[in-house]
Subunit: 217 residues, 2 copies
DNA sequence: CCCGTTATTGGACACTTGCGCAACAGCGGC
DNA sequence: GCCGCTGTTGCGCAAGTGTCCAATAACGGG
């Protein structure tokens, strides 16, 4: 394959790994898969990464990092902290068979066996919580929120949203996107001292295509 | 190996699979691992299970089912719904490197690739939510809780606890058991119309051995 | 133009994976 | 005591795994 500069090739490998992970999951992505995707030999990957763990960690960090940056930009653009939280919830809620969130599931499970992947997922999760905490503090400062413990509230909102998204993605049938949004919004409103429905999220989210209308509990 | 009756052998296989999964994780458990653990040939496992997916699903169902039954018994014994919720939180919070919860992480991730495992994890998650909902309804009925939507509250509490436990287990350093308990209790109290601290959970849980006191965010 | 650097190859290595199948062994019924 | 049922073996198969390395190819500087 065409010779490439060191940093470009690294990028290409990460990109290819991501493309495979999107189809097969992070945990099921192998060196040869990535090489085939890139149209190169498998040896090349080990010329840039010490181990498969590193490749997966880099790939995961790329995606999750992008999502994070995107949200950070949104945070800077928005003027109302309330709108930031609302948009956070909307963007976090998985759409269809959400492969990005499936990557998080894989990362959490694989963390036990892949130190570098654990390191990456740990760092990114922390960054998400920090971002949320910052937004809450901003809202408290400008008087739109009431919240006694922003750090705790941030972890609670993040964890709730993770737990709900997990149900949506792992078992499509139990909880759907609309439920998730409505429930998460209600919890966030209570957490931030907002009136019911103040976030303007939840109740009727026609986006959730009825893949298979589930028997609700 | 000694000949066994059909149902006993099935049990033995599930038990062995569990022993392996405890050490290596559900996703990394192989036919040969299970056979070695049982001291038998690998062919034997396929004589009882059509595929590895089935073995893992059965193993997961065994453990998670046991935990569920245990909690159901506790629920029947306890008289105060408040005490049931408190005990639920305490028993759900992972201790040390909690291998049972790691099994859940594996199950959620593997669900995408193993239909039977997904089926089992889906069913069990639903059962947990139902149990919680029942408890909440009981509490509302006898006047100890105030809650407008017990089903939604059940899913919220369960998801929050899953999301927090996930942080504790997957990234040991970020959130610890004491945080998790305190935060989950606070959320549950608010959710159920209880006074702050009414559940008597959280704040000072000396059980959480300081494996490595983490740099908190 | 040559030469050192380095990206890239492709296969070797030592394993592991899930699954299938002919053969064998041990028990219960006759 | 023999026969048939079935639990059990042990190996074969085809494919896959991460890692390593000698050989090759392409580029830039001298």
């Amino acid at each position: 394959m065409a010779r490439m500069a060191r940093s470009e090739r690294r990028d290409a490998i990460v990109e290819a790994a991501l493309a495979v992970a999107r189809r097969k999951g992070l945990g099921a992505t192998s060196v040869r898969d990535v090489a085939r995707e890139m149209g190169s030999s498998s040896g090349l990957i080990h010329h840039y990464f010490d181990s498969m763990d590193d490749v997966l960690a880099a790939a995961f960090e790329r995606i999750a990092g992008e999502d994070l940056t995107q949200t950070e930009i949104m945070l800077d653009d928005a003027d109302e902290p309330r709108e930031v939280i609302a948009e956070f919830l909307r963007s976090y809620a998985p759409v269809g068979d959400d492969w990005a969130f499936q990557l998080w599931l894989d990362a959490w499970a694989e963390a036990a066996r892949r130190p570098h992947l654990r390191e990456a997922s740990s760092r990114l999760n922390l960054a998400w919580a920090a971002l949320l905490e910052r937004t809450i503090r901003a809202g408290v400062a400008d008087g739109s929120f009431r919240c006694g413990d922003p750090a705790a509230a941030a972890w609670r909102i993040l964890s709730l949203v993770d737990g709900l998204a997990l149900q949506v993605v792992a078992h499509q049938t139990i909880v759907d996107r609309a439920d998730m949004l409505a429930w998460a919004a209600a919890a966030a409103e209570s957490e931030l001292g907002l009136a019911n429905g103040a976030l303007g999220v939840g109740h009727a989210t026609p986006l959730a295509a009825p893949l298979a209308t589930p028997p609700r509990a």
